[in-house]
């Protein structure tokens, strides 16, 4: 529920004013002193390990072993020329310099971005619509909700196999359905220009329910008063949605969007099982290319460099989303006040 209070204008103002006044370091040190109590008041005193720190050790060991070490090792590997079966040679940044000259990598970045953008936006739109529908009270609502979230629970590879059959241009059920409504047959994943939208279709089908669940949670938390006053003011359905529902569920949409983005950008199983990056290289995302480089070509050094750049891309996208979150929640606040 803390998210909801954050969304309310007052709380948000308080939040932003805190960020506004104190620099990050100051905030961090404030938090440190609060948490540890190791005493920033007496800098002269000799340093002692804080009393809580034996309890941190197990977590620290795990973090070092499964996060920090692999990362340091990957960065180290990315500076080697290392093909399995050949000796390793230190090459500095050569692997990174190779990236912009590698057309497959450049192309893969483009595919990753378009794939991610589409498979964040579409589930968000459809998930929100579904949530608004399923928030209404009607017969068999619980049962239908249950059916609706089923795609989310299926195994991606199984889904991929079924969709591959459905996409088949001659024998697939999708073209049959199109023919029933008089539309011409499509090539779906068998054509370079339609392959990414087709894959996004699968992704959307699978992950719209997740967005719906998150947004339903948000809808359940909205107080009824704004709706009552809107009714008195005579607002229509669209106005109610645009000026009340949407601003109030915005924080939930951001959470859903964030989860979706991280998931979509590193999506691998669906793409690999349906197209293996094809036709040609039309659906080769960074992740699929990375797999080829590391585990088909056994070029571990170059593969590591791709992994590092891929990681930085995810961080950049997350930062962008956080920035947008602030901006958009601020405008929603304005919209609320108007």
């Amino acid at each position: 529920m803390s998210v909801v209070t954050q969304a309310s204008p007052a709380a948000d103002k308080a939040f932003s004013s805190e960020v506004g006044t104190g620099s990050r370091e100051e905030n961090a040190s404030k938090q440190d002193s609060r948490a540890g109590g190791s005493g920033d008041a007496a800098p002269a005193r000799e340093w002692r390990p804080p009393s809580y720190w034996p309890f941190v050790i197990p977590a620290l060991v795990v973090v070092l072993a499964v996060i920090v070490f692999p990362w340091v090792f990957t960065i180290w590997m990315s500076m080697q020329e290392w093909k399995v079966g050949s000796p390793t040679v230190f090459v500095g940044l050569a692997n990174y310099l190779r990236l912009p000259t590698d057309p497959r990598f450049v192309e893969a970045v483009g595919h990753t971005l378009s794939y991610t953008a589409l498979s964040v936006v579409l589930p968000l739109v459809f998930g929100t619509l579904a949530a608004v529908v399923f928030h209404q009270k009607f017969a068999a609502r619980g049962f239908l909700r249950g059916i609706f979230i089923m795609p989310m629970m299926a195994t991606p590879v199984a889904i991929a196999l079924v969709w591959t059959m459905m996409f088949h241009p001659q024998l697939g059920v999708l073209n049959y359905l199109l023919s029933l409504v008089g539309l011409p047959p499509q090539l779906w994943v068998f054509n370079p220009t339609t392959v990414i939208p087709s894959l996004v279709l699968v992704e959307t089908w699978q992950w719209t329910p997740l967005v719906m669940l998150i947004v339903l949670g948000g809808l359940a938390a909205i107080p009824t008063e704004p709706y009552e006053s809107a009714q008195i003011d005579g607002a229509n359905f669209w106005q109610v949605f645009r000026f009340i529902t949407l601003p109030l569920i915005m924080p939930f949409l951001f959470i859903a969007g964030m989860i979706r983005m991280i998931d979509a950008v590193k999506s691998f199983d669906i793409i690999f099982a349906i197209t293996q990056g094809g036709p040609g290289s039309a659906s080769e995302t960074i992740n699929v290319y990375l797999y080829s480089v590391a585990f088909v070509y056994y070029d571990l050094g170059y593969g590591s460099a791709i992994a590092v750049v891929f990681f930085l891309l995810i961080v950049a996208l997350a930062a962008l989303l956080l920035y947008l979150r602030k901006r958009l929640l601020w405008t929603s606040e304005l919209g609320d006040g108007a």
Binding site: G85, P103, F190, P192, T193, G278, G280, Y297
Partner: protein, 440 residues
């Protein structure tokens, strides 16, 4: 010991190889001592498929014969390749016998020094039966198994030739002759194509990477070579452009929609449904095509050679073999198993099941073995292909990159891109990769 040899002969008698075994003149040389390594346990890593099945199905016979226990696992090809490479590069592989794909792994395995030299074992009569001699393997097999110094680093097991499958019924209906040249094939494919009926003249792999294996049939027959004397790659020359134009013509004008995403499985689906008149692919698909439960073209399929090009008549060839890791502690026992795997009895079973074609001429040419093969026309196409076989991929380390990059260029031509431009682009992209991998 001799008791076991006899029982093995009797067992083989049932598989139509008996006559041939009788002819080999046991024991002209020193007796092969099968029991020498009795009690050893061997680990075998296999790629999933008919060859692995054939080994696992009859492995009990080998254990009875030799007293060697065999633990084998079959893994899907792609993962098997990864697992082998990772374990071999670690220096402590968990297996004593490895099933390798020559067209992908030969150069890589050779350069890394992962395989034990079998040359000595082959000449040792206490390990090798007299009928197993190097000269019995086909030229392609020897080219795959030997390294630059002439050492045998593996035993050639099973070879894949590309052949032309055609639908006799569709040919008859339109009064079209079976093509002898690539040009005739393109003309025939256009005549046979009837999109309104859902019938297409030709089907084949359009999918990147997989498509290379079919394209090289055209490329070789247009007179193309993969490498020049200095080891530079040669796939942007006029032969490549001509071959690609043919590829583009066949797959855009005469093939089912969506062919750019087709691998052999989708191609086979079109062909077995009677929707495609011609299909060029590896030779192993006779059993599904002649299986009434899966195919609508049973008894209507013709099998023949890939049509000749203006400058050649070749069948692009791929294959796999069995090797022993240099790090194995049971090399002699492992060798006993390897030579059993490529033995006459096992080879005859493989051929008769339609699961693969042995690299050994004495098996493929044996009339006794041929009696057990159901589809005679298929066997003839395989025997004829063997005479004109030529390696279908360059013997280089980055084969996988080569297939991906040139394969993507080929797929691009299916959306209308210009063959010469695409090949040039692919060539520029691949050249530095080749230089980088060969210099190390």
């Amino acid at each position: 010991m001799s008791h076991h040899l006899i029982s093995r002969r009797q067992m083989l008698a049932g598989t139509a190889a008996a006559g041939a075994v009788g002819l080999t003149g046991f024991p002209a040389r020193a007796e092969l001592n099968w029991k020498k390594y009795s009690g050893t346990t061997l680990e075998v890593i296999l790629a999933k498929g008919p060859r692995g099945d054939n080994l696992q199905k009859y492995i009990k016979e080998f254990t009875e014969l030799s007293g060697i226990k065999v633990e084998s696992e079959q893994i899907p090809e792609q993962q098997q390749r990864q697992k082998c490479v990772i374990e071999l590069s670690s220096g402590k592989p968990s297996f004593d016998v490895v099933h390798l794909s020559y067209h992908v792994q030969k150069r890589q395995f050779e350069k890394a020094g992962w395989l034990a030299d079998m040359s000595g074992f082959l000449k040792d009569p206490s390990l090798t039966p007299p009928d197993l001699v190097e000269s019995d393997f086909s030229a392609a097999g020897l080219q795959y198994a030997r390294n630059d110094k002439g050492q045998m680093l593996s035993l050639p097991w099973s070879v894949d030739y590309f052949i032309l499958y055609y639908n006799k019924e569709l040919f008859q209906k339109k009064g079209v002759e079976v093509p002898k040249t690539l040009d005739e094939m393109a003309v025939a494919a256009e005549k046979l194509t009837d999109p309104k009926e859902g019938i297409y003249g030709f089907v084949g792999r359009g999918l990147r990477n997989a498509n290379m294996a079919m394209w090289t049939n055209f490329y070789l027959n247009y007179g193309g070579e993969f490498l020049d004397a200095k080891g530079n790659i040669l796939t942007d020359g006029p032969e490549a452009v001509e071959a690609t134009k043919l590829y583009q013509r066949l797959l855009t004008k005469c093939a089912p929609p969506g062919v750019a995403g087709f691998n052999w499985m989708e191609s086979m689906a079109s062909f077995t449904q009677g929707r495609a008149a011609m299909w060029i692919d590896a030779d192993g698909w006779a059993p599904p095509l002649e299986d009434p439960a899966a195919s609508r073209v049973v008894g209507k399929v013709g099998y023949t050679l890939v049509p000749a090009g203006p400058k050649g008549k070749f069948s692009s060839t791929y294959g796999d073999g069995v090797g022993i890791p240099a790090a194995s502690k049971n090399k002699e026992a492992a060798y006993l198993l390897c030579q059993w795997v490529v033995s006459r009895g096992q080879g005859a079973r493989l051929l008769q099941a339609g699961g693969g074609v042995p690299f050994r001429n004495s098996i493929v040419d044996d009339p006794e073995v041929a009696k057990g093969v159901k589809t005679k026309e298929w066997l003839q196409s395989v025997v004829d292909s063997a005479k004109i076989s030529k390696l279908g991929l360059p013997v280089i380390i980055p084969v996988a990159e080569f297939r991906d990059i040139v394969g993507a260029a080929l797929t691009a031509t299916l959306s209308g891109a210009d063959p010469a431009t695409e090949l040039k682009k692919a060539h520029e992209q691949f050249r530095p990769i080749l230089e980088r991998s060969e210099k190390a």
